[in-house]
Symmetry: C2
Subunit: 480 residues, 2 copies
């Protein structure tokens, strides 16, 4: 070290790091213990954004300020508690504790995995994971893919490949304005990121033809044909169909065999957004929900949803691996020495990111340590419990189910007798549930009605928690 007295050198002192780290471990283990015991920790503290801003001043001074342990204590106290079994809200998972520790290795090493030289272990692990996931999806040995920062980027990466492969000229160099206007057929229940990707890609929201869904929120086969006809009638070249495996709002799995028949018939790219549902492939009991997935040209699958891996780790898989090289196509002498396809191990050829976090280690290590068993158990337990949740709703005359759940997402309404405005009641119930800090649930619009929405995503959640949630909703509504 050049100078032992400098604050910068002190920040790199290994013994200070060790000591701070041990204290942090105790802090986090205590937090986990309290959360799982359903102690008085709020699931989500009822503080609005402006009040929260006042908790965190923004005038950083030249000199040291708050002690680390103190500030982390405040962070834990004011954060959203995903470890709590009564977090039954968004599709954000409680981190598998070992996966969180494992992520510390990733951030500590900070091997940014754009090219092999920058993160050799991670690159190898990503390759193994892509092969393993592709096999689970029913793809053959020619499949390939990459990991990227989340489902939105994943959908964009896949659609960029579709745009390039299905065009009759080089769109990457010539631009979308050098050919016939394009169109994409998209389940109206697709995640907003699909529509976003289409606009980012310069096609305009007009290029999205939403396909209606049936009563179970599956893409309607007849409307698919209708929208195809409509788009071609408007002189657009349809190049892709995006299906759900499963959808965000209701967790519904499209009939992938039927959609694949359609895309084969019309020579279209089939992309399946399996961000949430892909993990069902790990369950013998539920993998048939994804029947036909092996026929998709591309799919995305988030390890940070139903595999309990901390965000973000999205796999983008291509049935024909060479298409993984079509999303982007460039040179950069300070990074690459060869042509892209000679360098499977330099992922920046194929990912939006240049600097990328160690996504391989995120998923590889927990899989290697635990085996696949706990992941299967997690799928089965949460999917099973959501079905039991639906049974409870159906057995309760004051509640109404939107649709029988297919995955671990469920939408329902509380409808006691004599309610004038059911939508308004659900909205108010949800706000009040949040204020009470005991449960976390979310909401959605379905066919112009407002529903309460839950994702059963914490392995500690039990049917007892669900029973108490329904009772909690009843009490909350009575207060309103």
């Amino acid at each position: 070290m050049s100078s032992h007295s400098s604050p910068l050198d002190a920040a790199f002192n290994a013994e200070a790091f060790r000591e701070t780290g041990h204290r942090l471990m105790d802090q986090l283990a205590d937090y986990l213990r309290a959360s799982l015991a359903r102690s008085d920790t709020p699931v989500l503290p009822a503080i609005g954004p402006e009040a929260m801003l006042r908790e965190w001043p923004g005038d950083f001074s030249e000199h040291p300020g708050t002690d680390f342990q103190t500030i982390i204590g405040r962070v834990l106290r004011l954060s959203h508690n995903l470890q709590h079994p009564r977090y039954i809200g968004h599709q954000c998972c409680t981190a598998l504790p070992l996966a969180a520790l494992n992520d510390l290795v990733g951030t500590f090493l900070n091997n940014a995995s754009a090219v092999y030289e920058m993160g050799p272990v991670n690159i190898a692990m990503e390759k193994r994971l892509v092969q393993w996931m592709a096999t689970l999806a029913g793809y053959g040995p020619e499949a390939d893919g990459i990991f990227t920062n989340g489902g939105t980027l994943g959908n964009l990466t896949a659609l960029l490949s579709a745009r390039q492969v299905k065009a009759d000229y080089n769109i990457w160099t010539e631009g979308v304005d050098s050919g016939r206007p394009l169109a994409v057929l998209v389940s109206e229940q697709c995640h907003y990121s699909v529509k976003r990707a289409v606009s980012v890609m310069g096609l305009g929201e007009r290029a999205v033809y939403p396909v209606a869904v049936d009563r179970e929120f599956h893409m309607d086969r007849e409307d698919l044909a209708r929208q195809y006809k409509k788009a071609t009638g408007e002189d657009r070249r349809v190049f892709a169909v995006v299906a759900n495996g499963c959808s965000t709002a209701t967790g519904s799995f499209d009939d992938l065999e039927a959609v694949a028949d359609f895309t084969r018939e019309h020579d279209l790219w089939l992309h399946v957004d399996a961000a949430h549902g892909g993990s069902a492939l790990l369950s013998g009991k539920y993998r048939s929900l994804l029947k036909g997935l092996n026929r998709a040209d591309s799919l995305i699958w988030d390890a940070h949803k139903m595999m309990m891996i901390p965000a973000l780790a999205t796999a983008v898989l291509f049935r024909e691996g060479r298409h993984s090289y079509e999303s982007f196509s460039q040179k950069a002498s300070y990074l690459f020495e060869k042509e892209s396809r000679e360098e499977w191990y330099n992922y920046a050829h194929r990912t939006m990111e240049c600097t990328k976090t160690m996504m391989g280690i995120k998923l590889y290590v927990p899989l290697a340590v635990y085996g696949t068993g706990i992941f299967r158990e997690f799928i089965d337990r949460t999917y099973d419990l959501t079905r039991a949740f639906a049974d409870l709703i159906e057995a309760s005359p004051d509640f109404e189910l939107a649709v029988r759940p297919q995955s671990n997402i469920i939408c329902f309404r509380y409808l006691p007798d004599g309610i004038a405005d059911p939508d308004d009641l659900q909205r108010r119930i949800r706000r009040r549930v949040l204020e009470r800090e005991r449960f976390y649930i979310v909401q959605t619009d379905l066919k112009k009605r407002f529903y309460l929405r839950c994702t059963v995503i914490n392995p500690g959640t039990t049917i007892g928690d669900i029973e108490e949630l329904l009772q909690h909703i009843r009490e909350t509504a009575a207060e309103i």
Copy 2:
């Protein structure tokens, strides 16, 4: 817990987590100590991608396999060691040890910060950081912005806003093919992600007009005017100029005042890629390198480069904050309840990502704990040392400097007497340096010549290390 005997429940045991965490802390602290002591740990193990693949089997079984401590030991041994003071390669930083611990809090909590409800603490911290960074950039109170996953996404997000703001119709809904072809003027030294963003956006690589640089690798003012004329002559509507603060290959800072004069004259959007150089704003000694940055319409600044924060945390800042809402523009009922501008705290309106990691906590906590002092010290130390590095090169007749370094990036060649093919020699030197595992350096092409390239980015690197590197290169070349 529903069943104490289940492997899934066992994985959530708080005491097992505590114990594993303490062991991991010792493992990482020992690694840090050894790295800083320049012990025998290789900077980068000389293993090729295929051999590395064989180290990590991909057949995950149903049952538990490797023990966590064992597998992490192998990960540490086979990874790229950024903690080592002789890592002088890419612009990837050694993680500030406290920042790595702090990231564990972020991944443990896993508060995905798409909307306020999902990550309230993080959202508030991001807001404070954006204000603080915008003020450092010289922006006024109307500035705003967001954090995103890396510079590539940051450049894309800024250019999407530029595309939307500067168009004379709604490109988001209508597509780029509904108006006159667009064009962007880009320093030929821009990071490849800028060109990539333009193609992603559907404009085609043809829409990029590269602007030549002068001998110091600054964008040439006259060629800027020439390219503008060329693009408009080819019936393209130029909407933006992208300048460097600083560039990737040589770390050169464009003359932002001159470029801003040009963009004002022609009513163009000025975007500055300050991914690497933005942190120089923290240094009284070096901040003048960014003079004129306050006139940029948008800029990006990576905290994971010169602020020692583990990847990824890129700030995208807009001089006029309302433009931050123009990059994307959508609705999603399961996420948002109101119009986007009423909801500054729901960042998903403005970021590519829906689920996003806790980027606010990543940077806020280290700043709050240490103050700004150590960050200033880091910039001054690395920039100063790079200048001393250049002095050494200039004093050595057998070495040649590409250009005097402006930041902490330096490019040079080893040119002993009687060399037939200097490019080939540099290439072979670099490969051999990597094989010897003692130093990590990279390479780049500059004006069709091959150079060795270093980024001084570890606070432990000293002038002694640089002297030994030059000697190491001489010895390596002698072996060839």
